[in-house]
């Protein structure tokens, strides 16, 4: 039954127990293990079965680990990338892994632009040797390294060339990774360890089980101790999950993006920096984090750089900047701006399914009322919100921006002048419509180089603009959810040792985590 401890089926006596994982909310699973497909269908294709060329740790910007590739080299001003591949790796059907597989993977992306979700500007591939392959790009692609080596799973050419990769569901996946699919049903799938995995002695966990839980059911699952590793939002984690056993029932919510308050800069009032400053001073971010986000995350650094881990990217003059509420100063700034108080009445648009934001909006409304700004919060349908915010037909909104291997990706999405489309035209970033020459120059600087120090400088410049000109108002980091129990296995990532994103839904990080696990008590 389902009550009590999870069943230990499949684990031979004396063998290490299976690990029960809840990665993504699903009533039932679709039998699809094609890694070209959008992530989040069935977790595990990328990382556990199919592997990437490198592992890039988002929690430690700049840190990367060779994986299927032992090294990479840029040439031709970032238009050519030469990869050296690991030797002795085999697909689980016994066929050796070669440069042909890598070339085939990128050729497929070129051939099927709808699979090329990262919009890699691919020109072609050349197999130089069985362990060497060259990828050519139409434009400088330094900034896309993460999308090339960090999260592009490599597939086996001899199996995929027979299929249409767009529709192929790959029910019997053959990968190079530490695990192999051993059984599938719409309610539960299971993976067994790859006995011939190229990292000797690994993995330690012999069996992975992925039962289907909806967002709702996972709560009871966690409460009843059915799940060993989950990536779930739990409303009251101490009561529902920890249950007084912090030693075994652990969680770790590192940042993986930035949630900010957007002010539509095409509105005359918001075009004035004083008004934006004033609002920023009035909003009590601590309270938002505590009440709306239940203390699961932290207030963002004013530069928008993800912390901890992003120290190198912080603008030196604002290293210690932090938010504090100052209503008096805010009022004063408002006065200075010369905006009539009658013009200070806005609508704060939030997608109503995002309840934490709905709550945050409520708090912001209360805060801004204190400095005489009238805010009406309006919860709308997700798609309506997407369309209004994309087109710039809103006053204020809350929106998240994804993180990346470095803070650059976040800041570019927030500020790139190229994304500042006129009101009425849909855009996919820079929703506040920030236009600033300095900003665009810094972005260009970053993309044009492979040099880490130069990149850091560019990001610091962007951070400075964030702090001083307040184009958007960072609120808090969006947390990556991870709950794990240490009664069976230990070695999980933690604040002290953030070697990979800890949530089971982040790939390929989840596989990296699994490879770090060892039986409890060792």
């Amino acid at each position: 039954g389902c009550s009590g401890a999870p069943p230990e089926r499949g684990a031979a006596a004396g063998d290490a127990p299976p690990l029960v994982i809840h990665a993504i909310d699903a009533g039932s699973f679709q039998e699809d293990f094609n890694p070209f497909h959008l992530e989040g269908v069935n977790l595990g294709s990328t990382g556990m079965i199919y592997e990437t060329l490198e592992f890039i740790n988002k929690l430690k910007p700049g840190e990367s680990t060779p994986w299927l590739a032992t090294g990479h080299e840029w040439s031709d001003k970032g238009k050519t990338l030469t990869l050296t591949l690991r030797q002795g790796v085999k697909w689980t059907d016994g066929t050796p892994f070669t440069a042909d597989d890598v070339a085939f993977t990128f050729d497929t992306l070129k051939k099927h632009p709808e699979l090329n979700t990262a919009a890699l500007d691919l020109k072609g591939t050349t197999v130089l040797a069985p362990d060497k392959v060259e990828i050519d790009f139409g434009s400088t692609s330094y900034a896309k390294l993460y999308n090339i080596t960090g999260n592009r799973p490599i597939v086996a050419k001899h199996l995929f060339e027979k299929e249409n990769p767009v529709t192929f569901t790959n029910p019997k996946p053959v990968g190079t990774g530490p695990y192999m699919l051993s059984s599938f049903s719409s309610q539960l799938y299971e993976m067994k360890k790859n006995p011939a995995y190229w990292q000797p002695g690994k993995p330690v966990v012999p069996t992975l089980r992925f039962p289907a839980y909806t967002a709702n059911a996972v709560q009871t699952g966690l409460q009843q101790g059915e799940i060993d590793w989950a990536g779930a939002f739990v409303p009251d984690i101490d009561k529902i999950y920890v249950q007084g056993q912090p030693e075994t029932n652990k969680y770790y919510f590192p940042p993986e993006g930035l949630v900010s308050l957007y002010l539509n800069l095409t509105k005359p009032a918001f075009a004035k920096p004083e008004v934006r400053q004033a609002i920023s001073l009035a909003v009590d971010r601590d309270r938002i984090v505590k009440v709306a986000e239940r203390g699961y995350t932290t207030v963002a650094h004013p530069s928008g750089v993800s912390m901890p881990g992003g120290d190198a990217y912080l603008p030196p003059e604002h290293k210690d900047a932090a938010y504090s509420v100052d209503v008096e100063k805010a009022k004063q700034l408002l006065q200075q701006s010369g905006v009539e108080s009658s013009e200070l009445s806005f609508t704060l648009l939030v997608p109503s399914p995002f309840t934490d934001w709905v709550n945050a909006a409520q708090l912001i409304r209360e805060d801004l009322a204190k400095i005489g700004i009238k805010v009406e919060t309006r919860g709308v349908a997700f798609q309506d919100w997407v369309s209004k915010v994309g087109k710039g037909t809103y006053d204020m909104t809350i929106r998240g921006t994804p993180g990346g291997p470095t803070p650059y990706l976040t800041l570019r999405t927030l500020l790139d002048g190229g994304l500042a489309k006129p009101v009425g035209t849909s855009t996919s970033g820079n929703y506040e419509r920030w236009k600033d020459g300095e900003t665009d120059r810094l972005i260009a600087d970053y993309t044009a180089t492979d040099d880490q120090a130069a990149q850091e400088r560019a990001v610091q410049g962007l951070g400075k603009i964030m702090v001083e000109k307040v184009p958007v108002l960072p609120l808090f980091y969006s947390p990556s959810w991870a709950q794990y129990r240490t009664d069976k296995y230990v070695g999980w990532p933690s604040e002290q040792d953030p070697y990979a994103m800890p949530s089971p839904y982040t790939s390929p990080d989840a596989a990296v985590v699994l490879l770090h696990l060892r039986p409890a008590g060792t």
């Binding site: 709702n216 709560q219 009871t220 409460q223 739990v234 409303p235 009251d236 009561k239 529902i240 009440v291 709306a292 239940r294 939030v350 109503s352 399914p353 309840t355 709905v358 709550n359 909006a361 409520q362 708090l363 209360e366 919060t377 309006r378 919860g379 709308v380 349908a381 798609q383 309506d384 369309s387």
Partner: protein, 293 residues
């Protein structure tokens, strides 16, 4: 004779109607305000406790009643108006129009309403109270229309309608002065039933997160309670009041419907056997003992 069912039903409804109308005036304050201690049980300060964000649940119940009852009544009004138009007019005039309307009615009758509402609401750009009410009404008028049409079909052949026609009354006057009053009990029951269905539909939509969650309603309260796993963390005071209110309003309306049905059809009345009849005359009663599955 006023049945006790109608009386109790009215009492319940009056209570909630007063709550919806005057409650927010008496219990001023922002139901979304996040002042208090989080997830506190009922206390003197917060009679019904607080939510996870420290909102006062009593305040939410009272303010939410306005939205929930409002949506219910509004969509029932719309649906009833449509069903009167379709049922009475179609039924009275007959012919091709009626055929078409009746096919349309039957179609809407068999289409599963809640999934349709969910799909419609999924597309709805604005999820304000009015648009949710309209969507619910759009799928909820058919039952009433069907019943009214059937009634009208029989009533339009009744002698008093024929007499009015023979007396020279115009069709619309016949519909609204002769037929409509006679159908009032039916309209009333279908209206009350639609209110219940609409409140339930609104609650369902909110529960799925498909209504405007920045507006406090009983449905959105349940959504947040569920979202905050109120039961898992033992916050029954967060979970029970909104659902109980919905069920009570529904029971009140149901009781009234029951009463109206009994007035229209006295056979349905529950009867009390007289205390000590000299002879037992109730054939039903006297044989009831041997009934068994």
């Amino acid at each position: 004779m006023r049945s006790w069912k109608i009386r109790i039903g009215l009492l319940i409804l009056a209570f909630f109607a007063l709550m919806a109308i005057f409650g927010p005036l008496l219990l001023t304050g922002d139901p979304s305000a996040t002042g208090g201690e989080a997830l506190a049980g009922p206390s003197a300060e917060h009679w019904l406790g607080t939510t996870q964000t420290g909102q006062d649940i009593l305040l939410q119940v009272v303010h939410g009643s306005r939205v929930s009852l409002g949506v219910g009544v509004l969509s029932a009004v719309i649906a009833t108006a449509v069903s009167i138009a379709v049922g009475l007019v179609g039924g009275y005039f007959g012919g091709v129009v009626d055929e078409a309307l009746s096919v349309l009615t039957n179609i809407f009758l068999v289409l599963p309403a809640l999934p349709l509402v969910i799909v419609l609401a999924g597309y709805l750009p604005q999820r304000g109270v009015t648009s949710v009410a309209v969507v619910i009404a759009a799928t909820g008028w058919a039952w009433g229309a069907r019943v009214l049409r059937a009634q009208t079909l029989s009533i339009r052949r009744r002698d008093f309608v024929e007499a009015a026609r023979a007396g020279g009354e115009r069709p619309l006057r016949i519909i609204f002065y002769e037929i409509l009053p006679v159908e009032l009990p039916v309209i009333a029951t279908s209206f009350l039933a639609t209110v219940v269905a609409a409140i339930l539909a609104e609650a369902g939509l909110s529960f799925l997160g498909l209504a405007d969650l920045s507006t406090v309603s009983w449905g959105s309260m349940l959504y947040f309670a569920q979202n905050g796993q109120a039961l898992l963390v033992g916050a029954w005071w967060w979970f029970i009041p909104p659902g109980l209110c919905i069920a009570l309003v529904g029971a009140g309306l149901g009781l009234m419907n029951f009463g109206i049905d009994e007035i229209a059809n006295p056979r349905l009345r529950t009867v009390r056997a007289p205390r000590r009849p000299r002879r037992e005359s109730a054939a039903v009663l006297e044989t009831a003992g041997e009934v068994g599955p």
